[in-house]
C-alpha cells in the first residue's frame, strides 16, 4: 500500500480545507475588537439580507440550543482553589478577549459569508482590561467572571519530600526569578472541520483537524445535548497540531450551524484567527529559593509559579491542568531532599490557555535548569559539574522521585557527557578569551532534561484511556485502529512497524486507519503515543500472534512451538518448505475451510477470529500515583555568538543527545527532535504574543509572530542512547517534548555565558535582539557607575 508520505507529497492529502460535500455551506466567525466589553446590541438583519446567507448564529442561539461547555478537568475536591466558568461556545452578553467570536455567519459560499460577516453590527460598552497575571491578582483588578471572588482561577500547593529539612541542612540559599513570555504552537494549518447533522436520523458526523476525536465527540455531544452514540468524529489529514487541536470549541458552533440549516457546514480558520483566538501557552513568572551545599549538592526548592491563563472559557479546566506538570517537573533528573512548590493561575483578558508541546513540564525544568546554572556560577563550577554531581545514577532505576514520579531507566551522566563531546565544549571554552579579544561574544549553554511522558491523571479527561485493535482481514491485509491520530509525528508508520515486527508480516500489508471516535482514547498528547497507544497496539498484536500460531499450526499440522513468522510467511522450522502466506491463513481461517476447519478447542475458546481489541495501562501509575510512565532523557549543548551591537544571537553549534529507550524508527525520532528544537529556538529568541494596553493582540500574523525560518534554524547534530523502558510494551519511551524543553533553555543559557563580561542573568524570554541590547546597555551603565 502507498505510504502516507507518498500520498501527501503527490497532492492527495485530505486536509480540512480540502473537504468538499455536495450542497456544503460555509461558516465564518465575527470576532470582537474589544478585549473586555458588554455586548449592548447585536444586529444581524443586514447580514441576513445578503443573497446566499442561510443564517447567523449568535450567543443567543448558543444559549437557546446548546449547553454550557462541559467541564474537562476539576480538582475542586482536593481543597485547592479551582474555579470554572459557566460559559457557552459563544457569549450572549459579554466578551472577554480580543477576537472572541460573537456571531457566526453561514452562507452558500465562503466569500458571501465573509461579506455578510462585515455587516453584523455590534455595539459594545468597553470594560476595564486585566492585562496580565500579576495585575489580575491585585485586589482591585477588574474581574473577568462575576461569580468568582477574584481572578485567581487556580492555586495548587505541593510538598515533595522534606522541604523544611532541605533548607535546614543548606549552606546557602539562592533567590531565583524567571519570566517566560506568551507563545503559541502555531501549526501552519489552522483549525477546520465540516459538520453534517442528519435531520432524519438526528445524528451528527464531523470531519476535521481533530487531534483527539474521542474527546471531541464526548464534549461536542455534551454541548449539543446529544447522546454520544449519535455523534461520530473523524480526523482527516492534520496540518500540524502540537497540542493545539485537542480541544473542540468553535467546532460546536459549526455543528449547531449544520443542525439549524440541515446542510453540511464547513469552517476553515484563517491563520490570523488561529493566533488571536487559538490556544496560548507559557506566560509564567517564577520566583523562589533554592537550597544547596557549598560543594554543589542540591537540597531543596521553595518556589511559586504564576501563570497567565487568559480566559477560562473554552476548554474548562484542561488549561489549568497544565499547572500540575509545571510544578511537578522541577526536580528534573536530580536527587533532592524536598520541595514546596505552589502553582497559581490567573484569568486575564487574553486568549485561552491550552496544550502546546511541553504543557508545563518545560516550565518546571527550564526554571530549575536556570537555577542550577546560577548556583554553578556562584560556586565556580561548570554547568556540567553541578549536574554530574547531582544526577540520579544508572543503577538507581526504577527511581522514586520526591514528587511521586517513578523514573523508568536512563543514563543521565552518559547522555550529558556525549553531548559535551559532540559540541567540543572544552575547545570552545579554551578559545573564549581569544574570541573576546577579537570582539566576539561566544557562549556555551548546557542543559539536561527528562521528559515525563504518557499522562494519566484523575479528575479530568486525561485519565489514561486508550484502545487498540489489530485485525487480519479476510484477504490477509492487516488493519490497525487506535486513538493515536497522525499529526505529522509518525503514528501510522510507528504502528505499522510495531505490528509487522511482532507478526512477521510485510509492513506494506499493514494499514493504519485514520482515527475516529469509534475507538476509545485521549489521543496523542503528552508524548503518550509511544507509551499508551503503541503499547496497546503491541499488546493486541502479541495476542493476535498467539491466535495466528494456533490457526496456522492447525492448518500446517505442525507443532505450534516450531512456528516461524517472518517476511509475511508462516512456517514450521521443522518443515520450512510448507508455508502459509497471511492471505492463505486468513482465507483458510475465515472461509475455505472456515472456522469449522479449525480444531474444536479454538472454537470452544472463541479464538477463531484473527481480530483483537484491547487496552493498556501503565504498570507504575496505579501503585505509585506517578502521572507519567516513561521518562526520556536529553542533553542539549549550544554554542552561540551574540552580536553586542545589535543584540542578535547566532547559533554556531547545536548538539543534542537523546535517550528515548528502544527506537521504533530513527528517522521519525530524529524528525521530532529537529522540529522540537527549532520550536524551542523560536520561543527563546523571537516568538512573542504581545498584547497592547487595550488587550489587543499586536502579533497576529507570521510577519509579527516570528517563528524560525530555514535561515534562522541551525544545523542540528543528534546522537542517541537507547536505554529501554521496562514499563512499556516495546521498550520505547514517549518522546517529542524533550527537544523543546532543552532547546529553549539552552539558548538562553548560552547567551548568558556569552555575556559573562557584562554579568547579565538571562532570566527572561524571548531574548529578542532589542531585549538583549537593553540588557547590555543597562549592564554597561551599571559598570560605569560602579567605576
Amino acid at each position: 500500500m502507498e505510504n502516507r508520505e507518498t500520498r501527501l507529497i503527490s497532492g492527495k492529502g485530505q486536509y480540512a480545507d480540502d473537504l468538499d460535500f455536495p450542497g456544503m455551506a460555509h461558516l465564518v466567525f465575527v470576532g470582537s475588537p474589544h478585549a473586555h466589553a458588554v455586548i449592548k446590541r447585536l444586529e444581524v438583519d443586514k447580514a441576513l439580507k445578503v443573497p446566499g446567507v442561510l443564517t447567523v448564529i449568535t450567543g443567543q442561539e448558543m444559549v437557546k440550543y446548546t449547553n454550557p461547555l462541559p467541564v474537562q478537568a476539576n480538582f475542586k475536591s482536593k481543597g485547592w482553589t479551582w474555579r470554572l466558568a459557566h460559559v457557552y461556545a459563544m457569549p450572549k452578553d459579554k466578551v472577554r478577549w480580543y477576537g472572541e467570536p460573537v456571531a457566526a455567519v453561514v452562507a452558500e459560499d465562503e466569500k458571501t459569508a465573509r461579506k455578510a460577516a462585515d455587516l453584523v453590527e455590534v455595539e459594545y460598552e468597553p470594560l476595564a482590561v486585566t492585562g496580565n497575571a500579576l495585575e489580575a491578582l491585585e485586589p482591585d483588578a477588574p474581574k473577568l467572571y462575576d461569580d468568582w471572588e477574584d481572578n485567581k482561577q487556580v492555586h495548587l500547593k505541593f510538598d515533595f519530600g522534606e522541604p523544611e529539612t532541605a533548607f535546614e541542612e543548606a549552606d546557602q540559599v539562592m533567590h531565583i526569578k524567571t519570566r517566560e513570555g506568551r507563545v503559541t504552537g502555531l501549526p501552519i494549518e489552522g483549525r477546520g472541520c465540516v459538520a453534517n447533522y442528519n435531520l432524519k436520523k438526528d445524528t451528527l458526523e464531523m470531519w476535521g483537524s481533530f487531534q483527539t476525536p474521542y474527546l471531541a465527540r464526548h464534549n461536542i455531544a455534551a454541548t449539543l445535548g446529544m447522546p454520544e452514540v449519535k455523534v461520530k468524529i473523524n480526523a482527516v489529514d492534520i496540518g500540524g497540531a502540537f497540542g493545539l487541536k485537542i480541544h473542540a470549541w468553535k467546532e460546536n458552533v459549526v455543528a449547531l450551524a449544520s443542525k439549524l440549516t440541515g446542510r453540511h457546514v464547513k469552517w476553515f480558520e484563517p491563520q490570523k484567527d488561529f493566533i488571536v483566538t487559538g490556544p496560548h501557552q507559557r506566560d509564567v513568572f517564577w520566583e523562589g529559593d533554592v537550597a544547596f551545599k557549598n560543594d554543589g549538592t542540591l537540597l531543596g526548592v521553595k518556589a511559586t509559579v504564576t501563570h497567565d491563563l487568559g480566559v477560562e472559557s473554552t476548554n474548562k479546566g484542561i488549561a489549568a491542568l497544565s499547572i500540575f506538570p509545571a510544578c511537578s517537573a522541577v526536580p528534573n533528573m536530580y536527587r533532592w531532599k524536598g520541595m514546596h512548590i505552589e502553582g497559581v493561575g490567573a484569568a486575564t483578558n487574553k486568549s485561552f490557555y491550552c496544550a502546546y508541546r511541553g504543557y508545563g513540564k518545560d516550565k518546571g525544568i527550564k526554571f530549575i535548569e536556570h537555577a542550577l546554572n546560577q548556583i554553578a556560577r556562584k560556586l565556580g563550577m561548570t554547568p556540567e559539574a553541578i549536574r554530574l554531581k547531582n544526577y540520579i545514577q544508572p543503577d538507581e532505576f526504577p527511581y522514586h522521585q520526591i514528587n511521586s514520579y517513578v523514573y523508568d531507566s536512563g543514563d543521565y551522566p552518559g547522555t550529558l557527557k556525549k553531548a559535551l563531546d559532540m559540541a567540543n565544549v572544552d575547545e570552545v571554552r579554551a578559545k573564549k578569551e581569544q574570541y573576546l579579544k577579537e570582539g566576539k561574544y561566544i557562549g556555551v549553554g548546557v542543559i539536561s532534561a527528562i521528559e515525563p511522558a504518557g499522562v494519566a491523571v484523575p479528575n479530568c479527561q486525561m485519565g489514561g484511556i486508550t484502545q487498540a485493535r489489530v485485525q487480519i482481514t479476510a484477504d490477509g491485509t492487516i488493519e490497525v485502529h487506535s486513538d493515536r491520530t497522525e499529526i505529522g509525528q509518525g503514528s501510522e508508520a510507528s504502528h505499522a512497524i510495531i505490528v509487522s515486527n511482532i507478526l512477521g508480516c510485510n509492513r506494506e500489508d499493514v494499514l493504519v486507519k485514520p482515527v475516529t471516535s469509534d475507538y476509545i482514547g485521549q489521543g496523542p498528547l503528552s508524548s503518550r503515543g509511544a507509551v499508551y497507544p503503541a503499547s496497546a497496539v503491541a499488546k493486541a498484536a502479541k495476542i493476535l500472534k498467539k491466535k495466528v500460531s494456533q490457526c496456522a499450526a492447525a492448518f500446517l499440522k505442525v507443532d505450534e512451538a516450531s512456528l516461524v513468522m517472518e517476511g509475511g510467511l508462516i512456517f514450521s522450522s521443522n518443515n520450512p518448505d510448507e508455508k502459509l502466506t497471511y492471505k492463505e491463513l486468513a482465507e483458510k481461517s475465515y472461509f475455505f475451510p472456515g472456522p469449522r476447519g479449525l480444531p474444536p478447542e479454538i472454537l470452544k475458546n472463541h479464538d477463531h477470529l484473527l481480530d483483537v481489541t484491547t487496552t493498556w495501562y501503565s504498570p507504575t501509575t496505579p501503585d505509585s500515583g506517578s502521572s507519567y510512565t516513561s521518562f526520556c532523557t536529553s542533553a542539549d549543548v549550544a554554542v552561540v555568538e551574540v552580536d553586542i551591537d545589535t543584540g542578535a544571537t547566532k547559533i554556531i553549534k547545536y548538539a543534542h543527545v537523546h535517550d528515548a529507550g528502544t527506537i521504533i524508527d530513527k528517522q521519525i525520532v530524529d524528525g521530532q527532535i529537529h522540529g522540537g528544537i527549532v520550536q524551542g529556538i523560536g520561543e527563546a529568541l523571537s516568538e512573542r504574543l504581545d498584547y497592547n494596553e487595550k488587550g489587543q493582540l499586536m502579533t497576529s500574523s507570521f510577519s509579527t509572530y516570528l517563528i524560525p525560518t530555514a535561515v534562522e534554524a541551525p544545523d542540528i547534530e543528534v546522537a542517541h542512547l537507547e536505554t529501554p523502558s521496562p514499563f512499556t510494551e516495546t521498550g520505547s519511551k514517549g518522546m517529542g517534548e524533550a527537544p523543546i524543553i532543552g532547546s529553549k533553555a539552552v539558548i538562553l543559557a548560552a547567551i548568558e555565558d556569552a555575556l559573562t563580561p557584562f554579568n547579565i542573568e538571562v532570566n527572561e524570554s524571548p531574548a529578542t535582539p532589542e531585549r538583549v541590547r537593553s540588557w547590555i546597555v543597562a549592564a554597561r551603565k551599571e559598570q560605569e557607575e560602579s567605576k
Partner: protein, 163 residues
C-alpha cells in the same frame, strides 16, 4: 464580476471564467482545477504554503490576482508527477522524511524545484538551500530533513535523474 482568463496549468491550457477579484490560489483550488496541493494558510504571502511556479518563478499564489496571471504558465506540485511516478525531488523528500504533517510540503517542493532547476553550479551549499526556502515556513521538521532532501535531489539531478 466575471472575466475570462487563459492559464496553462501543468501543461493543460484552460479558458476560465473567473471572478475578477479572485486570487490565483482561489482559482487553483476551486472545483474546476482542484489543485488541492496548493494549500491555504496565511493568505498574505508570509507562509509559502500556496507556492506555485508562475512562468518558472516561485510565487505565493495568494498574492497573485488570477486576472493578472493571464497567459502565464503555472506549475503546481501535482504537475511535477509523471503519472503516478514521483518526481525525483519528491522521492528525495519521502526518502529523507523531509515532511511530517505535509501541509507546507507542496509549496516547499516548488521553491526547491525552482532552486535546483536554475542552479548551474556543481556546488550547492546548505545555506543556498536554506535561503531558497526562507519564504516557506515549516513548523514540524526544523528544516533539517528538508535541507537533506533538497541536497539529495540536487545529487539526483547531477546524476541525470531529473525532469
Amino acid at each position: 464580476m466575471k472575466m475570462p482568463v487563459t492559464l496553462n496549468i501543468n501543461n493543460t491550457t484552460w479558458n476560465l471564467d473567473i471572478d475578477a477579484n479572485a486570487t490565483l490560489l482561489e482559482v487553483l483550488r476551486n472545483n474546476v482545477l482542484n489543485q488541492q496541493s496548493v494549500h491555504r494558510s496565511c493568505e498574505e504571502g508570509e507562509c509559502g504554503a500556496c507556492t506555485v511556479l508562475m512562468d518558472g518563478k516561485p510565487v505565493n499564489s495568494c498574492l497573485v490576482m488570477a486576472a493578472s496571471a493571464q497567459g502565464s504558465t503555472i506549475i503546481t506540485s501535482e504537475g511535477l508527477m509523471r503519472g503516478d511516478e514521483l518526481h525525483p525531488l519528491m522521492k528525495a523528500f519521502v526518502d529523507e522524511l523531509g515532511l511530517q504533517c505535509g501541509f507546507c510540503t507542496p509549496g516547499m517542493v516548488m521553491s526547491a524545484y525552482a532552486l535546483i532547476n536554475q542552479w548551474e553550479d556543481e556546488e550547492l551549499s546548505d545555506m543556498d538551500i536554506r535561503k531558497a526556502i526562507e519564504g516557506n515556513l515549516c513548523r514540524c521538521t526544523g528544516y533539517v530533513n528538508i535541507v537533506n532532501s533538497i541536497r539529495r535531489a540536487k545529487q539526483a539531478k547531477d546524476a541525470g535523474n531529473w525532469w
